[in-house]
Amino acid sequence: MAQHYTTRFGSLERYDKGGVEVVNDDARNYVFSNLFEVASRAKPYEKVAVGKNIDYVIEAIRAEGISGWRAPAHDEFALVMDGEVEIRLLKLDNPGLVSPGTKGSVALAGTPAGRKMGVVRARRGHMTLLPVGAAYQFDAPRPGVILLQTMAGADTVERWGDICQTTPRRNAR
């Protein structure tokens, strides 16, 4: 008889959380968090780092409503982990809005001048290129979660003590 398998993804509404069981260590060394839990407690479009590797971060972003426009200094990649997000791309008339050497992305005032590049409607599991030289805006009618691959920038929020396991035994959710 063919075996039936169920693949378990997480969501804002439903996620299980594992954790660290310490034998001889400090749980903080593993910087353990859950991106759905982080997003469930975040403000819309707050860029909360859930991973950091020197200059690089991955950010858990709660997508809800319409975001401001941002422009990255390098390619970024948005992976939708929950919900549906429309991503609007615009080729900047003035690439100088992002200073050379900037890391991550910068917030832009209003709608920047530029040519419309296109729109991506992304759902769970869909990854979208946010190309350098463009500006982007997210629009999510219902709360969702984006995992963003980028560099730590001025608007990256780091609150590790609030989001990570600090005790030697995990607290099963």
Binding site: Y15, G18, D75, F77, G118, A122, R123, P131
Partner: protein, 330 residues
């Protein structure tokens, strides 16, 4: 440490042994196989590994170009990457072997050890055995030599330059190009993102379904690059059963569990002393510090995002203590 060896006159014995397999030497190391086991000998000792486990580890060590840091085949045998040369060791990262003075290590140029390992994998992999496949999806590695499986052991390794499906980059996986949905992922939606590019921007407005892409992976425990932000590499992989190596870090790496569950056994990188067990469920994020080694267990095929920083200066920074082994302090 002996000086780096870069030449040997012959790769493997010419005549096969009674089981049909050739033997191989690398410096003072000798490798033989019989119907069930790989035998490794060095001047101060010898060791046996089940040959299926050995070939699974060997396959990944080769495919990953010796990876980041240390690839322990088990608690005794392994390799350490110096990015241009590679240490082959026995007991080097085993506290008991070290204390007893039974450990041994030799350094080889990467092309040399790669060539010998590839020849060994080719000769010792029988028809029907796929070292990259999960145990339920492959035939047996055991028995006297029968045939080969070159197609399985020389797969293309996915290394996107920008992002999967971007123009000129790595293609999507489809039924038509030989990647059907895996038996554990039949419930994973195969929908595509709606992409509407304005004329002239077709090459920059790009998106793809990563979860569908992963659901069609035909290998396990094989991180492949799907997106590149300078030195930040997303290397997702699908995992089932046990990671065939114990990976010793030379830098911090991060895991994001995309689906299902993996449990990680974490040990001290140098001694093997147990430090922690990390259980990861969908949405969990965890760092693997630069001074540990880890092995994963995945009861059901799962999707894991391995996130690496490929900056070449990192091993020296961590080894010198200029960089703390954990990524953030709080």
């Amino acid at each position: 440490m002996s000086k780096t060896t870069d030449a040997v006159p012959e790769i493997g014995s010419i005549e096969p042994n009674q089981h049909g397999y050739r033997s191989f030497t690398l410096g003072a190391f000798r490798f033989d196989r019989d119907e069930y086991f790989t035998h490794v000998a060095w001047p101060k000792g010898h060791h046996m590994l089940p040959v299926d486990a050995f070939l699974r580890a060997l396959q990944r060590d080769i495919a990953w170009g010796f990876f980041y840091g240390i690839v322990n085949f088990d608690a005794v045998i392994g390799t350490m990457n110096h990015y241009g040369s590679v240490d082959l060791f026995a007991g080097r990262f085993n506290d008991h072997y070290r204390r007893a003075g039974l450990d041994h290590s030799e350094r080889f140029t990467t092309p040399l050890i790669q060539r010998v390992f590839e020849a060994m994998l080719d000769d010792w992999t029988n028809a029907g055995f796929d070292p990259f496949a999960s145990p339920q999806e492959t035939g047996s590695a055991f028995g006297p030599k029968h045939g080969s499986n070159k197609e399985a052991i020389t797969r293309h390794r996915v290394t996107a330059k920008r992002m999967i499906a971007a123009p000129g980059d790595e293609p999507l996986r489809t039924d038509d190009n030989g990647f059907p949905v895996n038996r554990h992922f039949h419930d994973v939606p195969q929908d595509k993102p709606d992409v509407r590019a304005e004329p002239g921007f077709e090459d920059e407005v790009v998106a793809f379904n990563l979860f569908a892409y992963l659901s069609r992976s035909d290998v396990t425990w094989n991180p492949s690059i799907v997106s590149v932000c300078k030195a930040s590499l997303y290397c997702p992989t699908t995992e089932e059963y046990i990671l065939p190596v114990i990976h010793g870090n030379d830098r911090v790496e991060w895991f994001v569990q995309l689906s299902d569950e993996i449990q990680w056994e974490v040990e001290d990188r140098d001694t093997g002393a147990v430090r922690a067990r990390v259980t990861m469920k969908a949405g969990d994020v965890a760092a693997m510090p630069a001074d540990i080694r880890h092995r994963g267990f995945s009861p059901k095929r799962s999707m894991l995002l391995v996130w690496e920083n490929a900056s070449p200066e990192l091993p020296a920074l961590y080894a010198s203590g200029k960089m703390p082994p954990t990524p953030v302090q709080f």
